[in-house]
């Protein structure tokens, strides 16, 4: 157990309190605890990232080609093509927060050492996708609704989600020490996750203008299949891109922490002399 948990400081056998802290945290069985070893995770990520990035590039290219050949909407004309990037961005904005909430649970309940890394590195990516969803929505809104921004229910709740992402990033940055910040950020992420449905509901109560749900419905999608397939391809492509980016960000974060640990050790050794 102890050996497995020493992954952070694999280059240095004795890593002081940092390892002691990490070694208590490897609880759980099966594949997730295998991944708790950062070295093993790094190896997996090294293998997966090129595949995911390549696949995402191919699917995105196909999706782009398909969405330019998809029929124009009878009302909205060519501007409907913004949908093929706007909708995946909005989905990913929500997916990313869900992933962060799951990681927060991982940090607080199972104390999975990588959950904290996953949470921290997902936040900026999620914020970027949310921002892109807002921007593309705004560009779509200008010709359709005649204005860049309306205080409509969905826009507003996505905007609130964006603010929550920024708040989480700000908190991570402000706290600095990864051990301390991990739990605080996890608590806040979970509280935010519980709040999202409430915010959604309250904002719906407050105002609504956006079109209703048209894909995930009990009576089947109301969107034409010729538009649905390019959209699905784009969504899949961007999801793969998201996971590739996320793995890369996690890898960077792990390396950053190793560097910090090694620097600290070097400094301690220099003091000892």
């Amino acid at each position: 157990m102890r050996q497995k948990a020493c992954g952070w400081s694999i280059a240095v056998p004795v890593a002081g309190d940092y390892v002691a802290e990490m070694s208590d945290t490897t609880i759980g069985t099966g594949r997730w605890s295998d991944l708790a070893n950062p070295t093993r995770f790094m190896a997996l990520a090294d293998r997966l990232v090129p595949w995911m990035a390549g696949l995402s590039a191919v699917i995105l290219a196909v999706g782009l080609w398909a969405s330019f050949n998809a029929p124009a909407d009878y009302q909205q004309g060519l501007t409907v093509r913004i949908m093929y990037i706007h909708v995946p961005f909005a989905w990913l904005a929500m997916l990313c927060y869900t992933l962060m909430a799951a990681s927060a649970l991982g940090t607080l309940v199972w104390r999975h050492p990588l959950a904290d890394v996953a949470l921290k590195s997902a936040a900026p990516i999620g914020a970027s996708f949310t921002f892109l969803a807002l921007v593309t929505g705004s560009i779509w809104g200008k010709p359709m609704w005649g204005t860049w921004w309306v205080w409509d229910a969905r826009l507003t709740s996505v905007f609130v989600l964006f603010l929550m992402y920024l708040g989480l990033i700000a908190l991570t940055r402000a706290l600095g020490d990864p051990q301390k910040s991990a739990r605080a950020v996890a608590v806040l992420t979970l509280v935010g996750f519980i709040n999202i449905p409430i915010i959604k509901f309250s904002v719906d109560w407050w105002n609504t203008l956006h079109q209703g749900e048209s894909i995930f419905r009990l009576d089947g999608p109301t969107i034409a299949p010729s538009m649905l397939w390019p959209l699905a391809a784009m969504a899949l492509g961007f999801t793969l891109l998201f996971f590739a980016l996320h793995m890369m960000a996690m890898r960077t974060e792990i390396l950053r922490r190793r560097v910090t640990t090694m620097r600290r050790l070097a400094a301690r050794r220099a003091d000892g002399r």
Binding site: L108, V160, L163, M164, L166, G167, A170, L171, A174, L175, K180, R183, A184, V185, V187, L188, L190, V191, G192, I194, N195, I198, I199, F201, S202, V203, W205, W206
Partner: protein
């Protein structure tokens, strides 16, 4: 628990007049609005409930960062958390939130009818706004406790706490304001948003202390 409540209330009233500063801030925010939108009395009457709610929301964020920080500095927070077997830390946090609300937020609610007069609001609107503030502001205190708890280790976390908390208080603001309007404007209902506001307060009374206690436990060990 009662002793903790009384202690916190006494500290809140005594220490540098934190409660009074909140009321003054509320007064200043509301007084600035007419300068911004113009002295049109009908317009002020129309936006009055919203202004009072926003002012109260901002003013109740003021003292939040001190909710746990003062106790952390003198070490009593550690003692409170250590006593978790005798008094569950969730309950401790809950009581601290109530004390914070009594000292910092209740004065705002008391002051709001007077400010309602400044805003040229009708008697019914003033009554409804005061009532919704009375019912809704505890929710802000409870949800604020989470923000105060996660930022407890930061020396100047006040602004950060506000940034973290404001998005989460959107539902409270929406239902508080819409209930206030519901009492005056005829087609809009009063009771449904008011009841939802009550539900939000009860909900956050559970979620807030739970989250805050969890964050404090990790911050102190």
């Amino acid at each position: 628990m009662l002793a903790l409540y009384i202690r916190d209330v006494r500290i809140g009233i005594r220490a540098g007049g934190g409660a009074l500063v909140g009321v003054l801030f509320f007064l200043a925010v509301v007084a600035v609005v007419p300068f911004g939108v113009g002295p049109d009395l009908t317009l002020l009457a129309r936006i009055g409930p919203a202004i009072l709610w926003i002012g109260a929301l901002l003013a109740s964020l003021l003292g939040l960062e001190r909710l746990f920080q003062a106790d952390r500095e003198d070490g009593s927070l550690d003692l409170l958390m250590l006593a978790a077997e005798r008094h569950p830390s969730v309950l401790t946090v809950f009581v601290k939130c109530l004390a914070h609300w009594t000292t910092n937020v209740l004065p705002l609610v008391v002051a709001s009818p007077l400010l309602g007069l400044f805003m040229n609001m009708e008697a019914a609107a003033i009554g409804a706004t005061t009532l919704t503030l009375l019912v809704g502001t505890p929710a802000i205190a409870f949800i604020g406790a989470v923000g105060a708890a996660v930022a407890v280790a930061l020396p100047r976390g006040g602004l950060l706490v506000s940034i973290l908390i404001l998005p989460l208080t959107v539902p409270v603001l929406i239902f508080g304001v819409s209930a206030s309007y519901g009492a005056v404007n005829d087609p809009q209902p009063f009771l449904p948003p008011f009841l939802i506001l009550v539900a939000l307060t009860l909900f956050f009374a559970v979620i807030g202390p739970l989250g805050a206690a969890l964050a404090l436990k990790h911050a102190t060990d």
